[in-house]
Amino acid sequence: MVELGRYSLYMLLLFCPAAMIVAIAGARLQRPQWVQSAERATYACFLLLSIAMVGLAVAMLTNRFDIAFVVSNSTREQPWPFKLAVWGGQEGSLLLWAWMLGLMAALAVYQNRNRNRTLMPWVVVSMMANLLFFAVILCFVSNPFAPLPEGHMMSNGRGMNPLLQHPAMLAHPPLLYMGFVSFAVPFSFALAALVTGELGTSWFRTTRRWTLAAWFFLGIGIMLGGRWAYEVLGWGGYWAWDPVENASLLPWLAGTAYLHSVMIQEKRGMLKIWNLALIGLTYSLCIFGTFLTRSGIVQSVHAFANAEWFGMLFLFYVLAIVATFTILLIWRAPQLRSQSRLDSIASREASFLMNNYLFMALIVVILLGTLWPAITEQMTGARVQAGPPFFQRFAGPISLILLLLTGIGPLIAWRRATLTNLRKSFLWPASFACGVGALLLIGGLRTFYPWAFLTLGAFVVGTIWEEYYRGVRVRMRRGEGVAEAFFELLRRNQRRYAGYIVHLSVVLMFVGFAGATFDLESTRLLRPGEKWDLGNYTVEYRGVQPLDHPHYAGAMARLALWHDGAPVGILTPEKRFYFQQNTPATLPAVSSTLSEDFYVILTGLEADQSVSLKAFINPLVNWIWIGGFVFIVGNTLLLWRLPERKQTAEREVG
């Protein structure tokens, strides 16, 4: 099976170009059977990649320590779920990426086997061109089946980085990759629309759900990464503005902008060029993120060790994508003129447009900050890092306005809003927000950003409530009960009302982010029996016990915790040293409530059993994870349509 997997990768070099050539020939010569062959080649590529994935999994499970990747990423003792987590290493992660791309290509082809026949040959060409790039990388640059030097064989491997051996890591990278890769489908349809001139609504209607799914997976992946960093890395935070974190955020922001602006095209036939450009930008940023991770041009905790030219391959790939898409877009621009124009600045179109500008500004700032070390190195010879304060300085005000627009957008009317309309829609949410703002001020909150985020968050919650309330009232006028009216409202306007749930999740996350302003951090050396007061908490150090494990050694401190004088429990932060990887790890202990986390790490242990502790009080941090859960609920409702009541009910496609 392993050998089969190895050679399956090489077979991709036959079937990917074959699919592209036959698809182009089929499209040019108007031979549908040839296009069908190209589509079959797409299925074949997916089958080959699946065989390669299974082959690598078998190699990992059967301890094939004659394969360099298995040696570097597995041991005989490694639990099987982590053996199967092949994305822990460079080669495996690229294979997973390629497999997902193959899966997406096969699904897109299957979904459109009887429709979009003009677009499909070019969709196949685009998907297979992307896949061919990865196939070349996998075969010649970063082959997961590459053997050790001739005659070499290890009796055991070095194993996966222990920091990665965490349940969140089983889901975080695949979800991120799924998000990145899924954007290839809307990108390919957009590209096909540009090539064929089929610039109507088909391409974005067909890919609406693909885009949503990609955006959803990427969002969940980013959030799981934050949760993993919080629980495992032991630095007290969840987001460090690390270049690779930023690289995953950039396409998500571009995707968010697209999901909003495409609604203007749906309803008003406007922003056609902009929407195409946005989907091109989103996918380019996905690949750019991979380039950042694998090129070594930025220093990151996530970065893979690679030669510079390896990154150059990805840079070439990104540039090729951007250049191709831009040329096609310029070529087709005359056919993409809008039928409508912006009627008023007080309209939903305008608020969505403003939202897009702000997302673009945020993308530019984050991109600039991420690349700043590389830019300064080129200009001055010295790398200057753009730290969190740089990002926060710009992201703060932009996010604030975005939050305001999150409230305004849903309530304001299409085309133009009248004063009466505005007063009617915003009176209650604005009053609620003012009330909350005043209460926060009375309560002693005098710091601008958290106050503004919480007040605007209240405004958004008010608008969401207003939308649901008025919607239910409208349905109740038709004689429906409250519950029936609520579910009918959700079912008949599922996209809109599920979208509001996603907005609610964003508000909840901003509540968590706002809490970060009040984070408290302190370090202390404690002798056994000594107490330490921090905020409303008291910690008593009750001793340390050694950790004796087959794979690591270390120490675990026992800390009794009180909050406002009431006992909370025993916390046990750990410091470990993993033998196999020569890697230390700091495992925090956390006491969580909805209002705050008490987060403590063991930073050092002295000969007299004194321990050095670092503690953080992170207010409201759990609202971020709650927001994440609501984000999943909202997106699930967006993606899975509730059953229709009537046979004749309209179907929504895409």
């Binding site: 050998e3 089969l4 399956s8 079937f15 074959a18 036959v22 059977q33 040839w34 069908q36 062959s37 079959r40 074949a44 080959l48 004659d66 360099a68 040696v71 570097s72 009887n114 429709r115 979009n116 003009t118 005659g151 070499h152 064989m153 290890m154 009796s155 055991n156 491997g157 070095r158 194993g159 089929e198 609504t201 088909s202 309803k267 008003r268 036939g269 060790a305 039928q339 409508s340 309530l411 085309r415 133009r416 009248t418 309309n421 009617k424 939308e467 008025r470 409208v474 008949r492 306007n493 794979h551 050694a553 033998f579 196999q580 990887q581 020569n582 004749t648 309209e650 929504e652 895409g654």
Partner: protein, 424 residues
């Protein structure tokens, strides 16, 4: 004639005598750390590397004041100056003559001290064993001990018969023979090797030192099955075996990477930490045979897979070229009415919620219908391109017009809209 020759010889000799002699000198003094001990008559040795890779040595004795001198030293390679005191060779001072000042006199000072018997500051911090396969059934085992003396005094074992470190290797393994034992910079005489055991009694100077013992082990075959025995508390142990297709089983040790190493290179590493005296680690090294001839099966499977996929992919083209292709499935375009219906539904909802005026609703509705009509016309055109004339005619009866109320697609025969039921 004879006289002329003698004169020439005398002139040549005179010239030789007059030429500068490139030879430096080392003058030095031995000082006792306490400043009170007699430092006269101590042996001072001079080591110099020769051009053949060996060493040349010379020695002298100190004067009453502890002074010594080595003269006529050619500016070749670095010289090492050692002093021997109470059977201990104290660490060297090194002197190198610069080519531009070859005949300079350099002075050195050598400090000696009485050895201490307090071994509390002497620690072994790492032991390293390298096991490599040698000639026909033999293994070459190299043991390196890294020890540190955190004090300021040279340390010796208390008991002349005792030792600071006991080094065990392959207990009760027959055919073990030490072939080389060196204690870097130290007195080799203090390292006693017998069979598979070595004892080191000191001295251990302040700082870090290494101790190395190399054994030849007759394994009796290509595989080695033995034990490593630890006689001294070992904070960190590293076993290194070249990764030449040999499986290494070292029970209780952890396979690992060398620091900073990501990819496998050269050796298989196994580490152990805080190993107590008396610990024995089973060690097996077995050659891994080349894989059996499953390559044929693999090649056949790969060939079959490739053939199957080629047939699967190529079949539609082959059918097309032969003219036996079944008619391809008709293109079912996304109905523009779906989008229109959803948008109209949203519009109505906004109107009912009081978000838009009636005039705006009507205007937006017209815009949506116009967009849908354009889209459907575009789709029909695309469809027409892909259909034969007969099918086109048939299709013409299928797609008729659009509902004026909801924009849904209708056929010419329809009397009511299929989507909203409006009379047409």
């Amino acid at each position: 004639m004879m006289r002329r020759a003698l004169l020439s010889l005398a002139f040549a000799l005179a010239c030789t005598w007059a030429l500068p002699i490139h030879a430096g000198s080392i003058v030095g003094k031995v000082v006792h750390s306490s400043g009170e001990r007699d430092v006269s008559g101590l042996t001072v040795k001079l080591f110099a590397a020769d051009s053949k890779g060996g060493f040349s040595t010379s020695e002298t004795k100190t004067t009453k004041q502890g002074e010594f001198q080595f003269a006529d030293l050619a500016p070749t390679r670095p010289y090492g100056v050692y002093v021997e005191y109470r059977d201990i060779m104290f660490p060297a001072e090194f002197v190198e003559f610069k080519p531009e000042q070859p005949d300079e006199t350099r002075s050195v000072e050598l400090t000696i001290q009485d050895p201490s018997e307090d071994d509390s500051k002497v620690q072994l911090f790492e032991a390293r064993t390298v096991v490599d396969r040698g000639e026909a059934g033999s293994y070459r085992v190299q043991q390196i001990f890294y020890m540190t003396n955190l004090g300021e005094t040279v340390v010796y074992a208390k008991d002349p018969a005792g030792s600071l470190f006991d080094i065990g290797l392959l207990p009760k393994h027959e055919g073990v023979e030490a072939i080389q034992a060196t204690a870097n910079q130290l007195s080799p005489a203090r390292l006693e090797v017998e069979g598979d055991r070595a004892r080191y009694r000191g001295p251990v100077f302040p700082g870090i030192q290494t101790l190395e013992v190399v054994y030849e082990v007759d394994a009796g075959g290509p595989d080695l099955a033995s034990q490593l025995e630890f006689l001294t508390q070992t904070p960190q142990f590293v076993l290194m075996v070249p990764d030449r297709r040999q499986a290494v089983y070292a029970q209780g040790l952890y396979p690992s990477m060398q620091s900073g190493q990501r990819e496998p290179a050269g050796y298989q590493y196994f580490r152990g930490y805080d190993i107590a005296p008396g610990t024995r680690v089973d060690l097996r090294i077995e050659a891994i045979p080349e894989p059996a001839a499953s390559a044929v099966v693999a090649a056949a499977t790969i060939g079959l897979l490739l053939f199957g996929l080629c047939v699967f992919v190529g079949m539609p083209i082959a059918n097309d070229l032969r003219g036996t292709a079944p008619s391809s499935a008709p293109d079912k375009p996304l109905s523009a009415s779906d989008l229109l219906v959803a948008s109209l539904r949203d519009l109505e909802h906004d109107y009912e919620m009081g978000k838009i005026s009636e005039a705006d609703r009507d205007q937006l509705r017209r815009e949506l219908q116009r967009e849908a009509v354009i889209e459907m016309a575009r789709q029909r055109e695309a469809e027409a391109k892909s259909l034969s004339p007969a099918k086109l005619k048939a299709a013409g009866t299928e797609v008729g017009a659009f509902c004026p109320s909801c924009g849904g697609a209708t056929s010419h025969d329809d009397r009511f809209c299929r989507s909203c039921g409006t009379k047409l």
